[in-house]
C-alpha cells in the first residue's frame, strides 16, 4: 500500500493500549464537557431542526399544494429527497456488514457511525413518502390490519413495498447497531463515575459481562445479521428502484434500475461516511484510530462506485437508443438538450468526472480534497434523483402534457432543513454513546500488535 509511513497499517500510533482506546473514545463523553465547537454546531443546527418541524407541520395542515408539483410533474423534491436519504441510509449498514463479511478489520473505526448514519438517514427518509401522500392521515392504511371497512392493502402497489422496506430496514438497522453497541455500553457503565451515568449505562448494557459464552453467541448473531443485511439492503434500494421501474413511463421502465439504485446508494453513502469521518476525527481527536489508510480505502471504493455509475448512465443511454422506442429516445435526447440540461451536465460532472481525481494518491490522502469531492458526489447524487423524476415526468408519452417543474419555498426548506436534523441527531448521539466501537478497535489493536504489554 502506498500510504504514508505509520507504525501499523490501521492504527496510527506506535503503541495504543486497551485502556488508552477506552479513554480516547469514552472520555470525551464521560469526562469532558461538550466543548465550544459542539455548542456552536448545536446552536447552528437548531434553526434547521425548527424549519424541518415547521415545514412538516405546514404540509400536514395546508396540503401538498405547497410543493412545486403540478398535474404533469406529480413527483418532486419529496421523492428525490426520499431516494437520496434512503440511499445514504442504506450505505451505513451495507458498508458495515460487507466489510465485516469480507474481514476488513479496518471497519472497526468507522462502522459505528456508519450504522448511526443509517438510523438517522432512514428515519428522515421515512418522513418523505408520508408528507408526499395527498392524505397523510391515512398512511396507516398501508398496514394490513383487521378493519371495519373490510379492506386490504394493495400488495401490487410500490407504496406498500416501500412501507415494508423502510419499516423492516429501520428496525433491522436499529437491532444491528444496538448489538454492536452492547459491549461498549458495558464499558461505559464500568467507566462511569456519576451515579446517574452508572444507572443509565448499566440499564442499557443489560448486564453484559464479556463472558466467553457471551462473546460466542454475540459473534454468531452479529455475523448472521451482517449476512442478512447485505441482501436486505440490496432489496430495500431495489424496491426504491422498482418504484420507478414498475411504472410504464419512458426513462423509468428499465430493468437496470434496481442494481443501478443500489450502486448509487453505496456511492452517496460512502461519500457521506467520508464527510462524517473527517468531522468526527477532528471533533473527537480520533487521529490514532481513523487513519489516512482508512480514507485511502474509502476513496478507492468511491472511485470504483463512480466508474460503475458512469457505466450505468452509459447503459441507460445505449438501451434507450438501442430499444428503438420513440418515447425512450426522445427522453434521452431531452436529458442533453431539454429544460434541465445544465443540471444534467452538472450531474455528469459531479458523479462521473470529479471523482476521477481519486486515481491520485495525493488527492486520496488530502482530507480537504476528499471532503470537497465527497460533498460534490452527494450533490451529484441528489441531482441524479431529482432529474430521474423531472426528466421523465416533464417529457412523457403525451406531448400535450409536457410541462416543467417550478421549485417552491417549501421544496427548498425540505431539501436543506433535514440536513440540520441529521446533524442534530449526530451531535446528540456523539454526546451519549461511543461513536467508535471500543471493543472492535481494541481487538484491532491486539491483532495489529499495537497493544503490546497491555496498558501503561
Amino acid at each position: 500500500m502506498s500510504g504514508p509511513a505509520q507504525p501499523h497499517r490501521w492504527i496510527d500510533r506506535d503503541r495504543l493500549g486497551y485502556g488508552e482506546i477506552c479513554a480516547a473514545v469514552a472520555d470525551p463523553i464521560q469526562r469532558r464537557g461538550p466543548g465550544r465547537a459542539w455548542v456552536i454546531a448545536f446552536l447552528g443546527v437548531m434553526p434547521l431542526v425548527l424549519a424541518t418541524v415547521v415545514a412538516i407541520g405546514a404540509v400536514l395542515t395546508v396540503g401538498i399544494g405547497l410543493s412545486g408539483v403540478n398535474t404533469t410533474v406529480v413527483w418532486g423534491f419529496s421523492i428525490a429527497n426520499y431516494v437520496w436519504w434512503i440511499g445514504i441510509g442504506n450505505a451505513g449498514t451495507l458498508i458495515s456488514s460487507m466489510l465485516l463479511l469480507t474481514r476488513q478489520h479496518w471497519r472497526a473505526s468507522i462502522n459505528r457511525f456508519a450504522e448511526a448514519m443509517t438510523l438517522f438517514a432512514a428515519a428522515i427518509a421515512g418522513i418523505f413518502p408520508i408528507i408526499h401522500l395527498g392524505r397523510p392521515l391515512y398512511s396507516y392504511w398501508l398496514a394490513p390490519y383487521p378493519n371495519t371497512m373490510d379492506l386490504w392493502p394493495q400488495w401490487r402497489s410500490a407504496l406498500v413495498w416501500d412501507f415494508w422496506a423502510i419499516l423492516s430496514y429501520l428496525l433491522f438497522s436499529l437491532i444491528f447497531w444496538f448489538t454492536g453497541l452492547l459491549p461498549d455500553l458495558a464499558t461505559m457503565r464500568d467507566r462511569a463515575r456519576s451515579r446517574v451515568g452508572r444507572r443509565i449505562y448499566g440499564a442499557l448494557a443489560l448486564g453484559w459481562r464479556g463472558s466467553a459464552r457471551h462473546w460466542a453467541a454475540y459473534e454468531t448473531f452479529h455475523k448472521t445479521m451482517a449476512a442478512l443485511a447485505v441482501p436486505l439492503v440490496c432489496s430495500v434500494h431495489s424496491i426504491v428502484g422498482l418504484d420507478f421501474a414498475a411504472s410504464l413511463m419512458p426513462g423509468w421502465q428499465e430493468s437496470i434500475f434496481p442494481p443501478y439504485f443500489v450502486v448509487g446508494a453505496m456511492y452517496s453513502g460512502f461519500a457521506m461516511v467520508v464527510v462524517l469521518a473527517i468531522v468526527i476525527r477532528w471533533g473527537l481527536n480520533l487521529q490514532a484510530v481513523i487513519t489516512p489508510s482508512h480514507f485511502d480505502a474509502m476513496a478507492k471504493v468511491m472511485l470504483f462506485a463512480s466508474l460503475v455509475m458512469t457505466i450505468s448512465y452509459a447503459t441507460e443511454w445505449f438501451m434507450g437508443w438501442y430499444g428503438g422506442e420513440h418515447a425512450d429516445r426522445t427522453v434521452i435526447s431531452y436529458f442533453f438538450t431539454g429544460d434541465y440540461r445544465w443540471l444534467y451536465y452538472s450531474l455528469l460532472f459531479c458523479n462521473c468526472l470529479a471523482p476521477q481525481a481519486l486515481w491520485f494518491a495525493r488527492v486520496r490522502l488530502n482530507l480537504w480534497a476528499l471532503a470537497i469531492i465527497s460533498i460534490v458526489i452527494n450533490l451529484g447524487m441528489w441531482l441524479e434523483r431529482i432529474l430521474i423524476v423531472w426528466n421523465t415526468l416533464s417529457h412523457g408519452h403525451a406531448v400535450s402534457l409536457w410541462r416543467t417543474y417550478h421549485v417552491s419555498v417549501y421544496d427548498v426548506v425540505i431539501l436543506i432543513a433535514p440536513l440540520g436534523l441529521f446533524a442534530f441527531g449526530f451531535l446528540v448521539l456523539a454526546r451519549i454513546f461511543p461513536i467508535v466501537s471500543i471493543h472492535e478497535v481494541s481487538q484491532l489493536a491486539h491483532d495489529e500488535g499495537a497493544a503490546r504489554r497491555g496498558t501503561a
Binding site: G17, Y18, G19, C22, P144, D150, W152, Q154, W155, R156, W161, W164, L167, S168, Y169, L171, F172, I175, F176, P183, T187, R189, D190, R191, G202, A203, L206, G207, W208, R209, G210, S211, A212, R213, W215, A216, A217, Y218, E219, T220, F221, T224, M225, L228, P231, L232, S235, V236, L242, A246, I438, H439, E440, S442, Q443, H446, A451, R453, G454, T455
Partner: protein
C-alpha cells in the same frame, strides 16, 4: 471446596497460558471475561453449537411464509380486485414483502435468542461485586477458575507465577 478464584491478566495470551497450565494441574476453568472476543477462549468455554442461527432461520422462513399466505388470502379469497387484468395471485411481486418481513422477524428472533443464551438482561450478578471486574470491559482479561481441592493456595500461586496481576476469591 473453596470459592472459585478470579485472576486478572493484562493480555489474552497470558490468560490462555495460565488457563492451560492450571487445567494441566487438574483445576477447572469456569469462564473468562474479556473486553473483546478471544478465539481460544471461545473454543474452551462456549458450547460448540448455539441456537441463534437455527432460531433465526426458523423465525425468518416462518414469518415470510405467513406473510405470503396473508397476501394470497387477502388478494385471492377475501378481497379479489382486478387491477388492469393482472392475475389475482401475482406471485412475482408477492415475494417482495415476505422477504423484507422475514428478515425483520429473523433479526428480532435472533436478538431474543442472543439474550436468552447469554442470560440477559441480568442487572445484578455476583461478579459485579468484585472491584476488579469493572476492568474486564476495558483493559483486563479475567479468568474464573475453581480449585480442585479445598485449599486454593496452590492454584493461587500457580496463577501468579503464570503472570496474574491480581487473584481474588469470588463469593456467590
Amino acid at each position: 471446596m473453596s470459592a472459585p478464584l478470579l485472576a486478572e491478566f493484562d493480555s489474552p495470551e497470558a490468560l490462555v497460558r495460565a488457563m492451560r497450565l492450571a487445567a494441566a494441574d487438574g483445576h477447572r476453568a469456569l469462564d473468562a471475561f474479556t473486553p473483546f472476543p478471544v478465539p481460544d477462549l471461545t473454543d474452551a468455554f462456549a458450547p460448540k453449537r448455539n441456537p441463534v442461527r437455527p432460531v433465526m432461520a426458523l423465525a425468518g422462513f416462518g414469518a415470510a411464509a405467513a406473510m405470503y399466505a396473508l397476501q394470497w388470502y387477502s388478494s385471492v379469497i377475501d378481497y379479489p380486485l382486478n387491477t388492469g387484468g393482472r392475475p389475482l395471485h401475482s406471485w412475482p411481486v408477492f415475494l417482495l414483502v415476505p422477504f423484507e418481513f422475514g428478515v425483520l422477524i429473523a433479526a428480532i428472533a435472533g436478538l431474543i435468542t442472543l439474550f436468552w443464551v447469554c442470560g440477559l438482561p441480568r442487572l445484578h450478578h455476583p461478579l459485579f461485586a468484585i472491584p476488579q471486574f469493572e476492568r474486564a470491559s476495558q483493559d483486563r482479561f479475567l479468568l474464573l477458575i475453581a480449585p480442585k481441592d479445598a485449599d486454593a493456595s496452590a492454584l493461587r500461586r500457580s496463577l501468579e507465577r503464570a503472570g496474574a496481576l491480581l487473584v481474588a476469591e469470588m463469593h456467590p
